[in-house]
Symmetry: D2
Subunit: 354 residues, 4 copies
Amino acid sequence: MKAPAPVAVVGASGYSGEELVRLLLAHRHAELVAVTSRQYAGQTLAQVFPRFASDPRAQKLRFSEPNAELLARAAHVVFLALPHGVAAEYALPLLRHGCVVIDLSADFRLRNAAVYKEFYGQDHPAPELLGKAVYGLPEVYREALRGASLVAAPGCYPTGILLPLIPLLRAGLIRPDAIIADALSGVTGAGRKAEPDYLFAECNESLRPYSIPKHRHLSEIEQELSLAAGRAVVIQFTPHLVPVNRGILTTLYLAPAVPFKDAAGASAFANQIADCYRAAYAGEPFVRLLEGKALPDTKNVVGTNFIELAWRLDPRTGRLLVMSAQDNLIKGASGQAIQCFNLVCGLAETAGLL
Amino acid sequence: MKAPAPVAVVGASGYSGEELVRLLLAHRHAELVAVTSRQYAGQTLAQVFPRFASDPRAQKLRFSEPNAELLARAAHVVFLALPHGVAAEYALPLLRHGCVVIDLSADFRLRNAAVYKEFYGQDHPAPELLGKAVYGLPEVYREALRGASLVAAPGCYPTGILLPLIPLLRAGLIRPDAIIADALSGVTGAGRKAEPDYLFAECNESLRPYSIPKHRHLSEIEQELSLAAGRAVVIQFTPHLVPVNRGILTTLYLAPAVPFKDAAGASAFANQIADCYRAAYAGEPFVRLLEGKALPDTKNVVGTNFIELAWRLDPRTGRLLVMSAQDNLIKGASGQAIQCFNLVCGLAETAGLL
Amino acid sequence: MKAPAPVAVVGASGYSGEELVRLLLAHRHAELVAVTSRQYAGQTLAQVFPRFASDPRAQKLRFSEPNAELLARAAHVVFLALPHGVAAEYALPLLRHGCVVIDLSADFRLRNAAVYKEFYGQDHPAPELLGKAVYGLPEVYREALRGASLVAAPGCYPTGILLPLIPLLRAGLIRPDAIIADALSGVTGAGRKAEPDYLFAECNESLRPYSIPKHRHLSEIEQELSLAAGRAVVIQFTPHLVPVNRGILTTLYLAPAVPFKDAAGASAFANQIADCYRAAYAGEPFVRLLEGKALPDTKNVVGTNFIELAWRLDPRTGRLLVMSAQDNLIKGASGQAIQCFNLVCGLAETAGLL
Amino acid sequence: MKAPAPVAVVGASGYSGEELVRLLLAHRHAELVAVTSRQYAGQTLAQVFPRFASDPRAQKLRFSEPNAELLARAAHVVFLALPHGVAAEYALPLLRHGCVVIDLSADFRLRNAAVYKEFYGQDHPAPELLGKAVYGLPEVYREALRGASLVAAPGCYPTGILLPLIPLLRAGLIRPDAIIADALSGVTGAGRKAEPDYLFAECNESLRPYSIPKHRHLSEIEQELSLAAGRAVVIQFTPHLVPVNRGILTTLYLAPAVPFKDAAGASAFANQIADCYRAAYAGEPFVRLLEGKALPDTKNVVGTNFIELAWRLDPRTGRLLVMSAQDNLIKGASGQAIQCFNLVCGLAETAGLL
């Protein structure tokens, strides 16, 4: 067994950062050597996160101020769990010092700096790196991730939308111009921000859409769908905030590329869908194709790196419905980042995740 | 002031029945003279529902076995909060005895007994009454409801879908063949059924679609949309179960009847939508058209008979999004039934509801 | 019918303030003429609280900066829903201008400025008023409240502890030196404070004690218990934060003044307790004594001004257990303030509350 | 490394059974060879529990009808997750066939068949086994558990009460006749029973005590406390149902054996408590003694086998408060059963639990 890779987490005080720490402490091929947080500098992991308090490593490891040079000396792989805009600034010196950077922000997800500016409202802080980053969706970019030095881990919503759609678009089975994604997200998706909108009594017993019609994640979603379809794709996307801690449930409304005319046509199309998904995902360790009457339920995947997928053909409307369920902080963020880490480091892709 | 109308609730032990009782006890123009329940016969309202226990009327009124003749003698208006199939059997003798019947089940919502059989899996128990019933959506059938003797109160999902759509279809502003309704419902929507699926630990921290692609409520939704559109309408409808006690949030994905080509076209279409909704609902006591940046949130309507409505035009996709929020047990069931009761009895429509 | 009293709410943007507004808008003998909030000055009630948006009065009434002189000119009764320390400053000029002040903060609950300093960590801003204020627990101070000019509405926890205990202490039935109060509170009890501890994901799926062993509310609780017992009373009080929006459930562990020796003694003591509570509360409009096997449940009182009470004698330990359930924002705050308002104004005590 | 022990779970369809299955599938020294369930016989683990569906073993392993002989042939250790009364019947033949039995029911927790009858309302089905069973609290019975053939895993409430109290009673630091335990439990504690009381809408936004004053768990709690104290102990115990899936928060109200008289006495007593807990638990792998200002919070232990403990001395009342937090299904049931399994089998006590 190889020596564990020394790793650091920059910005470890948010929900994704905390989840990364949890996964890395349990990972046999990673050794967490540094965690940074302006807010908690000087305190131990055990003090800041009581759930880790019984781990001797958490009792010893102290949050430090982020310092690229020191981090680069101590760690081989650095995870950035920082707000967009800030992450890029840290990435540059880390890369220069030879670190592998796995960024959980939006900063390296887009290939086009102009799209970044359109959706994030500011100039990209390091456009020269955009071509270098690999989008961290292992089911799509597995080969490029092996040996990558800069990984842009996808957003939580994109994961639940891209995994169901990319195989269908690649196979030309659905119309790329008629995609609707309706998603429900737990409140950790908003981060650990002390804003009134996310107070318990404002979220509990509340159901609400938000950020419509142009949520920021559309930029990366449409980029990746366009690559899969071989043409520009624009979709409808509506996120909703619902009172669970974790989980995203996505319902996709799709139109077959060629409308089916009768029961036989429907049946043939259904077979194509089944084959397409089986070909794409039967061997994937973290994609669970549901069978029979089962439909996705976030409670079956929360706490895991799995994404559940099911689909139905509606003979009345001619539409294809695809639904996915995932844990927004794991397959939608930190678990997927670990999956990328495993690929980058040449480890078993499921290491630390099963 | 007229003497209060004597009213009865048959099947008062479910969530809609309980909510009806609550509303009727607070209604100055209704006198609750009988409540029936096989399960609780002999017990007082105060014993079965502790929240009413301090009301002297609840201490006196006892649940009885349902008996049409006795009910008809005591009550002028009878609310049926019974499962479908059962309600129709009770309605017949009550109507024969001269009662007004306000039925909260699905039994009288459809005009066509064959559609009933298709969606409810059994022959309609009283098809001869289907032509007599008025669909209890006051914003649409106000005039017919005045003086009606048989009212079919709409389902919870239909209310949140029909109110946003009917004005647009009547005005020909949207394509009737491209309607998608995605809805989230609180768990009381499933009734007070002791089934494992609705246990706390199965619903809490869970998000899941169900009954797709052909939920029973589609039958009444499509019937009413077809009437509004003047042609047969088939829609896509996906309900989801989410962990709140009450509330339905509906997101509608719509296509303009005539696609707009540019910003000017979009702006003109937006004005048409705004005018259409204003014309339909500015004077409606229970429809709240949101303005500015506000979006529907169930927490703003839970406990009330209001439905919130907002819409957005998406210039990127050309679609119109309409969202509604309501309390599934009030505007989606018992409050709406009271609104019908007020109309039937010639009372102020808002009596007992503000 | 008398003309409605013009009333104002100062600090109307928190949860108690919002609930006061809701109750006052529905109160037939009150006319809400002013609401103040530094944060929302200039906006209408309808804009700040969407749930009131359909009320024409909420569309017209705008939040203003608090100004005692203007308030005093417009309103006869002013409710203060401000943080402690701040409330007293506003009360003084309002009283001088002849207003009745109903204060929901802790500023006038204590008779002793030194105790205020001990528990609230600052000098009392207006100690000369302490003797003038009436503690707003109608079941105890009803007569003093009629015609009072300064009312100190009790805290949420005190209400659920004092109502069960005062009759027992007055009757000498329990030992005043062996009282333990264990309480569970919903998250609105913490106010609408944007602090990480009250974020949805920090409260949901969390159970935790806090502020032990010396919560601030002990000061008023012990003051009132001492008055009832005729001697100094010190109690044990442990609050817990639990994931509900509203509701306080209190469990009291008590020792009979004279330990019972056998079943006959227990039975005699039980009769004394039953008689004591019946004498104290059988005629009270908002105290619900549960009978038979029923135990308090916050869901039966949330949304109402009722408090539920039940007790059990434990023959194994010789202890008396008393439990109460209330809505922390209604009987624990704003509803009780309205009850006081009704008494102050000579209205029916239940006006606007049933 | 030894070959994994073949194990079976009888009654694997409830919440504890499911959690046992989860822990055993992840346990490197256990091989799950059989799961039984009358209800699900014939179905695979993957079909019944979608969260395990991606595990190839769950796809293969089918629920069977429970049959002692077959189980004994296949498994070396059998976990019983059955209702009380039923478990004992299965234990006898399994033991006769040479299996180790780890029972999660109440059937073998009591040493006295008469107490069983008093609290469980039926004659004990196998009183001859009572003397043979070891109470499965490793922190107390570690040595006896090594090599035990019949283990009675404790109830969820007892774990959270006994671990804080036993060291104090053994050291004679508290009065054994003045113990009050107030506990809050998540809804999985009631099992997967389809009863109206545990429906989502009945538990959500509800706080309620139940089973007072004589909950069944008192029998085992008092048995173990009596053994620790060396005299008969009777305590006060009040469980409450609160809306979380998992977690028990216990607050204990205790009286020092010798009341302290002044600050110096309090300080000396505090040192004794600190020393006592440190001596008892500093080396325990699953007991987390909180330090400084930290108080237990179920969210820090849910999903783990840890129990958090903190205490406070109240100088005002002279009482000692001790609080504990645990996951009712793990340290309160299945995790603790695994800890026992590890001891029984001579494995590292933390195997499969960290």
